[in-house]
């Protein structure tokens, strides 16, 4: 493959959706054609993004497909993009979920269709940009850029309390990212660059003046922005509102990708730039993660609302990711990355399934259902499969990641692993109990008797997710052999740190 294509690949992958959105602006308002066009663009984008894993040099640390051009000379901002094994898969996760979002919104969005798909495609560009940016400024730019389309998707196309949810989502993340901006500005003021790699090496070599005094604050500045996004317990309150009110596609991308921006940020920036501070602050981050795992699961257990249940389960699952990241072990970080991907696929699918039911009955209340297995057998099968994947059944995608995270956590401190492991049990409780209430037993409400089973389009949206859940569970190495070197790279300073401490 020519290097020219490799160089422009990330730019292409990032901006194809935006180009599609711009074309949609001038598109005539024929809803069917608009949907079709959005589907074609997102599929094309997915195919293009597959170039990344196919031609990825596995076993090689460092960033690949790099582009680095001067964008603005003062301040010194570069258009610097690149992916390693972690971010590459997150990009592919994004491009994988977007066509499914288009399919799942086919009928449920029937007003202002054009604007909906424009926002969806703009959101996709911003999300991919977050994962590929290697210039802190560029990163911040894409980070903020995800906010507006997402808030509008929730606010315009959402359900009852959509405005409240949209504003809450926007303000929460906006305020938190201000702290990150302040930290980025501080780093720029001291180093004169926004380049992630340069700043990293400047910090590593001790060339940043006053760094020792400010480091903890900088760590916290980044951490708060990411913690709100993940969300880490006590910053999670925006999430259930946003999920419950969001349209299905919004929820899929919110849970599937947006939350991963936070964990990705922790992995890349908190660990990458501030290894010592990460180590020093790990204890309370771990405790928060554990609280998140248990608290999210317990609240999910008592939710009468199906979508809220899935939302709280996300808090619990993302707790695993944070736990893995701050265990600073190879297994923990590998697992954390894998959970990010697995959670994206299976929770994305769960939200699609919940959305399918909502389209039929216009409610998410679990009590409104019961015995659905007989009128909707295919639906029930898909649901069961995804629930099992989510619960962490071996040979499906949830298992690998959680297993790795827990083994990493055990290695760090046994009590973390033990407490974390309870989360796996809890997730089986709330998901299977929900499944039982919705699908088994007799049909309790007459309306449910005549519910139509999945249509061809809905199956088309669910099959890829189910297939991915299976393949990821059976052949995790396909993913892990790219993730592994990237994680080693992140962990390199920690090994030095440990040896330094032993040397003392």
């Amino acid at each position: 493959m020519s290097t020219g294509l490799d160089n422009s690949m990330l730019t292409l992958v990032t901006f194809i959706p935006l180009a599609g959105a711009l074309l949609l602006v001038v598109f005539p308002r024929r809803d069917r054609d608009i949907r079709l066009f959005a589907l074609v663009v997102s599929l094309l984008e997915f195919v293009f993004s597959l170039h990344l894993p196919v031609h990825f040099q596995r076993g090689q640390a460092g960033f690949q497909y790099e582009v680095n051009n001067l964008w603005i000379s003062n301040p010194n901002i570069h258009y610097h993009m690149g992916v390693d094994g972690v971010s590459m898969w997150l990009v592919v996760l994004t491009t994988f979920l977007t066509p499914l979002c288009v399919l799942i919104s086919w009928k449920s969005i029937h007003e202002r269709v054009k604007e909906f798909f424009i926002l969806l495609l703009v959101l996709q560009t911003a999300l991919i940009g977050v994962f590929v940016a290697l210039d802190l400024f560029l990163f911040y730019f894409f980070w903020e850029a995800t906010l507006i389309p997402m808030a509008l998707l929730i606010g315009i196309y959402g359900h009852g309390r959509r405005i409240y949810a949209a504003v809450k989502f926007f303000l929460y993340t906006m305020v938190a990212s201000m702290f990150m901006l302040a930290a980025i500005l501080w780093l720029y003021a001291k180093t004169g660059t926004f380049d992630f790699v340069s700043i990293q090496s400047a910090i590593h070599n001790g060339q940043v003046e006053n760094f020792a005094g400010a480091a903890t604050w900088l760590f916290l500045g980044f951490f708060i922005a990411f913690a709100v996004k993940v969300p880490v317990f006590p910053f999670h309150t925006w999430l259930p509102d946003a999920h419950v009110e969001a349209p299905t596609a919004g929820s899929v991308l919110l849970a599937g990708v947006l939350l991963k921006m936070g964990t990705y940020g922790m992995l890349r920036f908190n660990l990458g730039l501030f290894p010592e501070q990460s180590r020093a602050n790990a204890w309370w981050v771990m405790i928060l993660a554990l609280i998140g795992i248990v608290y999210g699961a317990l609240v999910a257990l008592v939710q009468p609302n199906m979508k809220k249940l899935i939302a709280y389960s996300s808090i619990s699952h993302l707790g695993f990711v944070v736990l893995g990241i701050f265990s600073f072990t190879q297994a923990g970080l590998d697992g954390a990355t894998f959970v990010m991907l697995a959670h994206g696929v299976s929770t994305g699918a769960l939200f699609m399934l919940a959305g399918i039911l909502y389209e039929r009955r216009h409610t998410y209340e679990i009590a409104e259902f019961g015995g659905l297995a007989s009128p909707m057998p295919v639906y029930a099968t898909f649901f069961l499969f995804i629930v099992l994947a989510s619960v962490g059944l071996p040979l499906l995608n949830g298992f690998i990641g959680e297993f790795l995270v827990l083994s990493g956590a055990f290695r760090d401190r046994a009590v973390y692993g033990i407490l974390g492991a309870t989360g796996v049990i809890w997730s089986a409780c709330y998901l299977l109990w929900m499944y039982q209430r919705v699908f088994y037993g007799k049909v309790t409400h007459e309306v449910n008797l005549s519910l139509p089973d999945l249509s061809g389009r809905e199956r088309a949206a669910l099959w890829p997710a189910a297939a991915a859940a299976l393949v990821m569970g059976v052949a995790p190495l396909l993913w892990l052999n790219a993730i592994d070197p990237a994680v080693q790279n992140v962990l390199a300073p920690f090994a030095q740190l440990a040896s330094k401490m032993v040397g003392r």
Binding site: S73, N74, Y140, A145, I156, V167, M178, A182
Partner: protein, 488 residues
């Protein structure tokens, strides 16, 4: 040596006139408008006079570019053309042109007689332009008065509305009070340093001994100028005046005269190296940001909301004044430019939606605008996002440069206050966007199609806002050169 030689020195040279060429052009066009006004019948005059004024402002723009090739002092060292003055001349002329374009439709809808209006806009622009090139305090005072008196009258142009007259009188009374402060400060400064020339004052102050009188003089001048830029605690007039004044005029007076006053402040604070500026400005900047944003949170009238927002923005801008010159000056200049672009654009939208008698200026009237006029709503959204400071808009880089300048001067406390304030501010701008997109449309609010003039005005300010947000480098480099010129 001999009398003849002295005499020739008293006669202005051709070069002197080049130094005030934009002002001359603006004055001539202003007078043409005034002379033509009584000769034309009222209906026809609207467009014609507006077009003449528009040509005048564009001619001033051209004159500025021409003048920029001949930098130097003129009129016995009272006026100086340098890249700094060219920057602000350009800004004032561009804002004037956009405001005139906005006023076409506004004047016709409100049924206001156009003649004096356009003339006053041009005369105001004369004062504002002169403020940025004057390097002598008395001339600055005169320029300030030219600009202020024009805006006092413009604020009262909605004659049938009592609120407009109230706005005008309030602005006039408080404004005169503030100018008196400024003049008093000038007098004290003269007493302290023996000169009214900014360069000489700067030399005296830098020479080591700083008389106490100079501190008092600076403080008094700052009070006067602080009033003009609506910085807290001298901001109380702003919401009332903005609410009453015609919307295009608010767009004008919240940007062009402010930019000019900031230019004066930059000259006084940095070129004259004002003593004790950092703490003075620290307090005022922190107060303005905080009071402006808190005030804006509870507003339901869009004009009042933007009035409070402009107080807050004056605060952000002042942060740059507390920073070191080589970072602070370019940051402040960039901020004025991008604030002018987004705010004049926002008020163009407001004046269009306001309708006859400006009846539709509350948030409720904006409900469902996203559905009824996607283009107008999207435009206003971009201006508001820029005011919040979202990337790829000028507002983002403006804040960015200001805060990083402050960080480089170790003003961490002020930056934290500023950052928290911008977070708070996003709430009230967001309210407008929420109302436009997420509420049901209100059909009873009439929404005429966008006329060509307004469309052009919006396109220009939108393009400027985006340009400053995507490729800020050129403007910032230009501004940085200014700082370097002063440092020499």
């Amino acid at each position: 040596m001999n009398n003849a030689n002295d005499l020739t020195q008293l006669i202005p040279q051709a070069a002197d006139y080049v130094r005030i060429l934009p002002e001359i052009v603006l004055s001539i066009f202003g007078m043409i408008v005034m002379v033509l006004d009584p000769l034309m019948d009222e209906r026809r005059s609207q467009r014609t006079l507006g077009t003449i004024a528009l040509i005048g402002s564009l001619a001033a723009l051209a004159a500025t570019l021409f003048q920029g090739q001949y930098p130097g002092l003129g009129f016995w060292n009272m006026v100086r053309v340098d890249s700094f003055s060219v920057f602000f001349h350009f800004l004032v002329a561009a804002v004037t042109a956009v405001v005139i374009l906005t006023s076409y439709e506004y004047m016709a809808v409100q049924g206001i007689r156009a003649g004096e209006y356009y003339a006053l806009v041009l005369f105001g622009a004369v004062g504002m332009s002169l403020m940025s090139s004057a390097v002598e305090l008395v001339l600055i005072f005169i320029a300030l008065e030219i600009s202020s008196i024009s805006t006092y009258v413009l604020a009262g142009f909605r004659r049938e509305a009592a609120i407009s007259s109230e706005s005008s009188v309030k602005y006039f009374l408080l404004g005169s009070f503030a100018t008196a402060f400024f003049l008093y400060g000038v007098a004290l400064m003269f007493g302290a340093t023996g000169s009214t020339s900014i360069t000489v004052i700067g030399n005296v102050l830098r020479s080591g001994h700083i008389p106490v009188l100079a501190y008092v003089g600076i403080a008094l001048m700052f009070v006067g100028l602080g009033f003009k830029v609506a910085a807290a605690p001298f901001h109380v007039w702003t919401p009332d005046v903005y609410e009453g004044a015609p919307s295009p005029v608010v767009g004008f007076m919240s940007t062009a005269p402010k930019a000019a006053v900031f230019a004066v402040l930059l000259r006084i604070m940095f070129e004259a190296d004002a003593p004790g500026r950092v703490w003075l400005i620290w307090v005022v900047a922190a107060l303005s940001m905080t009071l402006g944003n808190i005030g804006a949170l509870v507003q339901d009238n869009v004009k009042r909301l933007l009035a409070y927002s402009s107080i807050a923005h004056a605060g952000y801008l002042l942060v740059a004044f507390a920073a070191l010159p080589n970072n602070g000056i370019p940051a402040a200049m960039f901020y004025t430019a991008s604030y002018a672009a987004m705010n004049v654009g926002a008020f163009a939208v407001i004046s269009h939606i306001g309708g006859k008698g400006e009846r539709y200026v509350t948030l409720e009237d904006y409900e469902g605008l996203g559905r009824r006029s996607p283009l107008l709503a999207a435009t206003l959204t971009i201006f508001l996002l820029s005011l919040i400071g979202i990337p790829i808009t000028g507002g983002f880089f403006a804040k960015f440069y200001v805060f990083s300048a402050a960080l480089q001067s170790n003003l961490v406390g002020l930056v934290i206050i500023g950052v928290l304030n911008s977070a708070v501010a996003s709430y009230y701008y967001l309210r407008v966007i929420v109302v436009m997109y997420m509420r049901e449309a209100r059909e009873e609010v009439p929404l005429p199609p966008i006329p060509v003039g307004l469309g052009t005005a919006l396109a220009v300010s939108l393009a400027a806002t985006i340009y400053l947000g995507v490729l800020p480098g050129r403007v910032l480099d230009y501004a940085a050169r200014t700082a370097a010129e002063w440092a020499r």
